[in-house]
């Protein structure tokens, strides 16, 4: 403006080459202050157009008091102490603490433009560092044409006060990732339909794959963790042994096919694929595989139970019979092995035998230890039974010793122990030495032993057995609720009442140690 005016005056006079102005220092006193208020251009703050603008200093006295540990003690009357402030100040001086006084003029400005609900509020915070290396002056033009210079004391940067909730950095990032993605509901439905079809196929595949798989569950440290028998794995092991490479290839192909199917489905999918989308899929694949494994196992179990109807004694007897018979078979196998090694299908078993012989000594030692401890023996027995429940199916199917032998391959050591352990001896008190046993005699003995077993395992079909309870309790102290949960997770198809009853019965029998901890009754068993 000044320059314009200068130009104008220059124009009015006889067009001299330059116009000269006197610059004076402003006549303000020390108590006058000039400051520059900075607004962002997009805020459209124009003081010429508004009339009602209020300015105040933000009141931060309370925060200041809090920050400086100034407790609000009354200065007079009730609760006040004589000379408290002076004493505090003196003490602080002694320790060299010099407190800053609260300066209201050092607080941020609050500017309110307009009135009522339409008022816009801004907060002006002081900016430092601008006048470190240079000073700023405001040049204003006086009526007489001379300039007046006023020093700028402060700079304030005004920002609007936002009341609504806005996204923070993380949320903004999330929202940013979601941008440009539009939902097409038609495609969603299409995708869903395709998936359904795919799912049906997958189910078949999974069933087949199940056989090839199972290596994964080899990583189980202990089979105590699953109530479900692991026999499936063992069986599959031998399968893969038998067919070897082709099977695995087959599996791979299947996986690939499935992946492809997913891909094609995704090509029509609504969202553009992003980085990281496939991670999820991979995980999905892994989990589905394993879960279907379990499902299958459970299905197997169910089937088996359906076939045998284990709930009644008869079924159990059968089961046990099959157990026993299998054992017999094994023993026979062993005999055969020792006698002749011409049968090719028994190669796996031979291996196992070697292993077994390696570990024989340890097994025997454990035998001697476990002789008086019926708990351990029972546990062993349970394992046997469990394994058999898987194996029994196998045996019924093929009626060859091969699978059981391969079973042994895995659990050879335990098997061995089981065979030589007192359990079997107890179970068949009348049987002669293993080498000379005949299947038929075993069956009969098994039949005789059945009732006693039933007494120890009231509802074996439920997976709730005394053994299982003992096992859980021995591992760590548990509440009854925990126990029920455990069994519930293993057997989802059961109703609570039955399970509860069964568990209570078992607990009565087991008679575990009770301890109260944090208001809960924990049951535990000492490892025998």
């Amino acid at each position: 403006m000044a320059s314009q005016q200068a130009a104008a005056t220059a124009g009015s006079s006889s067009n001299p080459p330059a116009q000269e102005f006197i610059v004076r220092l402003g006549r303000e006193t020390k108590s006058d202050k000039f400051s520059v208020l900075k607004f962002a251009e997009n805020l459209k703050v124009d003081f010429t157009k508004t009339s009602n603008v209020k300015l105040e200093r933000q009141n931060n006295f309370r925060e200041f008091k809090q920050a400086n540990d100034m407790e609000a003690m009354p200065k007079f009357g009730a609760g006040s102490e004589y000379g408290r402030e002076q004493k505090d100040e003196a003490r602080r001086r002694k320790y060299g603490i010099i407190r800053k006084k609260y300066n209201p003029d050092a607080q941020p400005w609050l500017l309110k433009n307009g009135s009522g609900k339409t008022a816009k509020k801004y907060k002006g915070s002081r900016e430092g560092g601008i006048s470190d290396n240079a000073s700023y002056y405001i040049f204003t033009q006086c009526p007489d044409g001379a300039f007046e210079a006023h020093p700028v004391d402060e700079w304030y940067n005004f920002t609007p006060i936002i009341k609504y909730k806005y996204l923070d950095a993380d949320e903004a990032e999330e929202a940013f990732n979601k941008r440009d993605k539009t939902l097409n509901y038609f495609n969603i439905m299409l995708k869903k339909r395709l998936k359904d079809d795919d799912g049906a196929d997958e189910a078949d595949e999974e069933e087949k794959k199940m056989k090839g798989k199972g290596k994964k569950s080899d990583f189980c440290l202990t089979d105590l963790d699953d109530g479900v028998p692991l026999s499936g794995d063992d069986l599959d092991m031998d399968d893969s042994d038998d067919e070897g490479a082709p099977k695995s290839k087959d599996k791979k192909k299947k996986i690939k096919a499935r992946k492809n199917a997913k891909h094609t489905a995704d090509d029509e999918a609504v969202e553009e694929s992003d980085e990281g989308d496939f991670d999820e899929r991979e995980v999905d694949y892994m989990t589905s595989g394993s879960s279907s494994d379990e499902d299958d196992l459970k299905e197997e179990d169910k089937k088996k139970y359906d076939e045998t109807g284990v709930v009644d004694e008869d079924g159990l007897r059968k089961l046990n019979e099959s157990d026993e018979s299998e054992e017999e078979e094994e023993e026979k196998d062993k005999d055969n092995d020792e006698d002749n090694e011409k049968d090719e299908s028994e190669k796996g078993e031979k291996k196992s035998d070697k292993k077994a012989s390696d570990t024989e000594s340890s097994g025997s030692s454990s035998d001697s230890e476990s002789e008086p401890e019926s708990g351990f023996a029972k546990a062993l027995f349970m394992q046997n039974r469990k394994k058999k429940s898987g194996g029994s199916k196998e045996s019924s199917r093929s009626n060859t010793p091969v699978p059981s032998a391969d079973n042994e391959d895995k659990k050879g050591k335990k098997r061995k122990a089981g065979r030589d352990s007192p359990v079997t001896k107890k179970a068949r008190p009348s049987t002669p030495t293993p080498t000379s046993t005949v299947a038929t005699s075993a069956i009969t003995t098994a039949a005789t032993t059945v009732p006693s077993k039933i007494s120890t395992t009231p509802t074996p079909s439920d997976g709730i057995s005394e053994e299982a309870v003992r096992r859980y309790l021995m591992r760590k102290p548990m509440t009854v609720v925990d126990l029920v949960k455990k069994f519930k997770s293993k057997n989802p198809g059961l109703n609570n009442d039955d399970m509860g009853k069964a568990i209570v019965q078992i607990l009565k029998k087991v008679n575990p140690e009770k301890s109260k901890h944090q208001g809960k009754l924990y049951l535990s068993l000492k490892a025998t």
């Binding site: 000269e20 220092l25 003081f47 105040e56 004589y82 240079a134």
Partner: protein
């Protein structure tokens, strides 16, 4: 203090006025900060652009007097810049730092142009820079060799403040026991103002010997032994003029 936070109406009458915001080197502002208001700082020469579209040239010349004894360059050039996408207004506060707190706030203008006052490089400017550099390179502490020991503390028989204190004590003399009723009145008076008192303070207030005072205090006061008002006396509840709700000890 509360008054300082009262909202004030912003005077907007001069808000339309255009002003220049000039960046000035420190040596100039130091000079100007010592000069009286209204005195001449210099002269501004604004030359018209030689041809259309050319930038106008603004020269600033200091008067002879200010330049006299110093090595300050006399001629400066104003580099004119646009304000860009900033909205700068000038706020003036009058009457700050005064006790009557009749502060008025006003918008005195809108910045329409920024200028940077740059010295035109010459001998004087070089000299100035040279001096500045020398100053900044000068070490803050130096090692000096002393010929003899410097005594900065001289022993004194009796310091002034000690003598003062003794004099005061002598004037007061020994504290004598006054009438119990009078002491009680003084105590009640004191306890009307505050709830808790230290014995020492009460001694100075009542000017009684401490044993005598404690005797009386035991009758009408409780002695606090624990934390919030430790070692302080307060009136027994029956003597208080306020309700006992504050008694949280």
């Amino acid at each position: 203090m509360e008054k300082a936070h009262d909202p004030k109406d912003l005077d907007l009458t001069a808000s339309g006025r255009g002003v220049w915001l000039v960046k000035v080197p420190k040596y100039l502002s130091e000079k100007w900060s010592n000069t009286r208001g209204g005195s001449e700082l210099g002269r501004l020469k604004i030359s018209r652009p030689k041809f259309v579209g050319a930038k106008q040239e603004v020269l600033f010349t200091l008067p002879e007097a200010t330049v006299a004894g110093d090595s300050i360059p006399r001629d400066h050039k104003f580099a004119i810049t646009k304000i860009g996408n900033q909205n700068l207004s000038v706020l003036s506060e009058t009457g700050t730092n005064t006790e009557d707190s009749t502060t008025t706030v006003a918008i005195t203008g809108k910045v329409i142009q920024r200028a940077e006052c740059r010295p035109i490089a010459g001998d004087r400017y070089m000299e100035l820079k040279k001096k500045a550099l020398e100053m900044s390179n000068k070490p803050q502490m130096e090692v000096k060799v002393l010929d003899k020991a410097v005594v900065n503390y001289k022993p004194k028989a009796n310091h002034a403040f000690n003598r003062e204190w003794d004099l005061k004590k002598k004037e007061e003399g020994k504290r004598s026991r006054t009438d119990k009723d009078k002491v009680l009145e003084m105590l009640y008076n004191a306890f009307e103002k505050h709830q808790y008192y230290n014995v020492k303070d009460l001694v100075t207030i009542t000017k009684q010997p401490i044993t005598w005072l404690k005797e009386i205090l035991k009758e009408i006061c409780n002695y606090n032994m624990r934390a919030p008002h430790k070692n302080m006396w307060e009136l027994k509840p029956e003597y208080r003029h306020y309700t006992a709700k504050e008694d949280d000890t």
